[in-house]
Subunit: 210 residues, 2 copies
């Protein structure tokens, strides 16, 4: 299998190939954009994902055209992007965005073993809501068989990021950064069970306006 060369020519000072950093960015997010080709045309779809050290996992209906393509082994690309802030310069054309993004190149294949599928769902819930795994119903084999799980080996990747203030600064207008943070709002209960402690902790840990 040929490994694709990942070229980050422009703004090369923004590029990084550090695998630890790749893992850090992948492991603190859960939404990606998957790019693939179908009948010669490009497609991009947002997907829930989880990763371990070697693979990125996604799931969907086995009847889904998209899942069939993503799991079918043709080259795909997975982008995970964090937006950290809006950078304001005095000059209209020098405003910028602070961000960190990873682009992963690989090929997908289907996970068929129910035990391995279960592990993926456990990874997902541990990513989304730590503590929930002890407070949920586990799926039956039939339920696991009714879901398609795709794993994508991380063949190659590129990290790009920008941080700090405007590159060219002046005192003509206010310059600086508007930080962007993702927060969790007040929990919306849909049944009469009391809100578990792990959920209150999760929301509290995601309510940082500094």
């Amino acid at each position: 299998m040929d490994i694709r060369k990942v070229k980050v020519v422009r703004y090369s000072e923004r590029a990084s190939y550090d695998r630890d950093e790749l893992m850090k960015i992948l492991s603190r997010n859960f939404i990606c954009h998957v790019g693939f080709i179908d009948e010669g045309e490009p497609y991009v779809i947002p997907m829930l994902y989880v990763n371990d050290d070697q693979y990125i996992y996604m799931h969907g209906s086995p009847d889904s055209r998209l899942i069939k393509i993503i799991g079918g082994g043709s080259p795909i690309v997975i982008a995970v992007t964090e937006i950290h802030g809006i950078v304001l310069s005095s000059d209209l054309c020098n405003n910028s965005i602070n961000y960190a993004s990873v682009i992963v190149y690989g090929r997908g294949s289907f996970v068929n073993e129910p035990a391995e599928k279960l592990r993926v769902f456990q990874l997902i819930i541990n990513r989304l809501v730590p503590g929930r795994i002890g407070d949920t119903d586990l799926p039956t084999i039939d339920e696991l068989n009714s879901v398609a799980v795709v794993k994508v080996k991380i063949e190659d990747f590129a990290i790009k990021k920008r941080e700090g203030g405007p590159k060219i600064s002046s005192d003509k207008h206010w310059e600086g950064v508007i930080p962007i943070v993702i927060n969790y709002g007040k929990l919306i209960s849909m049944n009469n069970k009391p809100i578990p402690r792990y959920l209150m902790d999760l929301v509290m840990n995601h309510q940082q306006i500094t």
Copy 2:
């Protein structure tokens, strides 16, 4: 030019083709993921964008390989995704994500007129920081000429979204939604100018934890 058929077969109850809704979603965001094909392989990159009723605009260095491809007229796809919440069901396999996403299909071309480029930068700053346009230095013709601006005609699109609680509910464990909101943090000043009122208002309007 052939218009691509956009099929949303799976979860078709989540799909919508309402142009007003397309415009609403496009106009309240500013980061997209652009998919394209280069030498037979799929690529996805995050980009800053702005839109009007007909076009999506992006910009970059005229020497950038990506900008050349995106502006070169081959079919591209633009995804804009909002994540609204994590949906917790009692069953591990019925957890879900509330979201709204648009996928736009089109072809890019370059904007060459400096006046039209200036309009795009004005659209961008009005999207990012309303009020800033009266408190910024406008670019010279040379500056405008040194930036490549691409416009993509909205040929076709699809909207997908999910809202509400888990599809199958039970009283076995807590069920509900963890809302996800994007907030702006405390402004980081990089010069000695006082923080303008429009910036204080912007941050205050993006600090909603309910």
